[in-house]
Subunit: 130 residues, 2 copies
């Protein structure tokens, strides 16, 4: 809980019960990327779905969450800490965190890169056996 208060500190985001509940979901151990639907379900009625959408975006703007694209139908978010990437099993949906760095970029038209995505898609060992 302490963690939650720290997260909101100095961000001019009012500490509502709904926001605390949403934050608590992402603070769970090894919480995989979540979409609005899964957060909403996890809240079990503690917030409206529109509120979830609104706050996921607000949390992202505040730097608390980070968008992750897993090539699924909906946008996923995860805590914006411990920078890492993902490998996604296209058969069962399993997600493995990946540490991976890329070689330096050579961009002629850009001044500044602020973010990047890097996700991998394949078949996990378990599905390969089946």
């Amino acid at each position: 809980m302490d963690q939650i208060y720290k997260i909101f500190q100095g961000k001019s985001i009012k500490l509502t019960t709904q926001r605390k509940a949403i934050a608590r979901i992402f603070l769970g151990k090894h919480c995989p990327p979540q979409d609005a639907e899964s957060v909403f379900k996890g809240l079990q009625g503690k917030a409206d779905k529109a509120t979830v959408f609104r706050n996921l975006e607000i949390f992202e703007s505040a730097g608390i969450l980070r968008k992750v694209d897993l090539q699924k139908d909906s946008v996923h978010y995860e805590l914006n800490a411990n920078h890492h990437h993902h490998a996604v099993c296209t058969s069962c949906g399993l997600i493995e965190a990946v540490k991976c760095t890329f070689r330096k970029l050579d961009l002629s038209k850009f001044r500044e890169i602020k973010d990047h995505s890097m996700e991998f898609f394949g078949i996990c060992k378990s599905c390969a056996k089946g």
Copy 2:
């Protein structure tokens, strides 16, 4: 045009006028990733939007096109050749092609990686000046 026939060869995809028109769009020089809407507009009535959606998916399955995620609202596609990535200006939408390789992966739960995404988001020089 020759190019188009080659593309469809041995893929058991019937060569309709709509498909030729869609393919022709992607074969234009330096064609940036396109979404269904922009392809549809480019066709100027030569195909229905549902047909565009259906064929973008068919072309992807056939390995002709490749999905690209630019963190926009719609799915983008580009020719599945000359493997590269993208830098996207979050201000004006400019897209620069990027050659970039990553260091080897260390995945414990995966048997095989078939695909990956890697896109960069930032501000282009032109927008930085403005």
